[in-house]
Symmetry: C2
Subunit: 255 residues, 2 copies
Amino acid sequence: MNKPLILVTNDDSIVAPGIRTLIDIAKQIGTVIVVAPDSPQSGMGHAITVNNTLQINKISEDGSEVTEYTCSGTPADCVKIAKNEILKQKPDLCLSGINHGSNSSINVIYSGTMSAAVEAGIEGIPSIGFSLADFSWKADFEPIKDYAKKIIEEVLNKGLPQNVVLNVNFPKLKKEEIKGIKICRQANAKYEEKFDKRISPFGKEYYWLSGEFVNNDKGEDTDEWALKNGYISIVPVQFDLTAHHAIQQLNTWNL
Amino acid sequence: MNKPLILVTNDDSIVAPGIRTLIDIAKQIGTVIVVAPDSPQSGMGHAITVNNTLQINKISEDGSEVTEYTCSGTPADCVKIAKNEILKQKPDLCLSGINHGSNSSINVIYSGTMSAAVEAGIEGIPSIGFSLADFSWKADFEPIKDYAKKIIEEVLNKGLPQNVVLNVNFPKLKKEEIKGIKICRQANAKYEEKFDKRISPFGKEYYWLSGEFVNNDKGEDTDEWALKNGYISIVPVQFDLTAHHAIQQLNTWNL
């Protein structure tokens, strides 16, 4: 294979240490183009910009090793505009992240990181979302660099199953503490939300969404189990949301 | 069953004719509370508000038949804050829509309407998203009212399979032209994006996302087939995104 063309994006914005790490890894493997949000987009899910305009700005110098653009839109917008307006072709691979914070279990649904990966998958581009279970801006990405590189190379070598992208989550551990990589299913867990009610300086009530992650899924084949037990989790993710197993039951209804 | 407590929301905002229609239908079946965005949220996917605050405003008069709140957040935020701060309990049912525009096929991923329905499903609330294949603000919802009511009543009677919500799409047809209801799978279709590049009054380039919906999935079991052939489509939708069929293949990799 010639040097692959790799699109790198994320949801924490182009200046986040996580994407800088991912760019460093991708540079060792292929030709890298970065199109990432100009501001943080956490929790954006699979939002796209339909009622507003998009701006892109090339921020790398001409002749730089890596070409970088910021985009005013969401992570999914970044992938769409990268393919259609910047590259004018499909890249060989799309990498999203490395997110500051886990996107395991139900987080996949809220995640801007994974929405970029899924958008690339919809476009037929092999695609991986990476996340580290550490929300800190100063999270240590060093321990996971070799693992990320290995996963990327294996995707390039083997190819991904059709209409499947990877959701890779790294535990917050030292390199020697990481036990390996497990292929997993998404744990059936969710948030118990709490809203923190406050009063503005002008006397008006407002809320902050917060909450606690609750996992009652004890399965040892889940991403949550893997992460808790020192493994890197890889969940194959699909964008056919049909609950095929429910079709037969619904066909018995009186509609 | 006592009169069910029904939460109604949408993504086109609380003043859209589609939600007003859905409120009218829901009133015939149960006690209705409305918590809907204060501004249009189309294309918001499963976005939630994590880096900003949320405001809610009660807009109905005390003693009104239906209690209505606007929320400054996304459709998923509306469901979270309705359950946790307004109702302080799970409603018996969540209805989202009726969206002005189809949410069939891959649109389910970008849809704010469906993200509200899915969020309710995650919370364990039986939930249905409704959409009409007509983007017009003046779309005619009359032909579909009886069908929507029938579907809601059947969900209340039969219950939904666990971790499944319904994505209901209505064709843009006269009542006598609608042939019936089909349980479907999500068609494997996507958008061929185009970006419309323009120049601002200040000389800066900007883009509008547009594009054409392309369906190469000829399956007669798909939502697209049903809608094109005069049927209402119901796709059971799940939020376990695991591509379970891919796990075995990935386990053969050298990781």
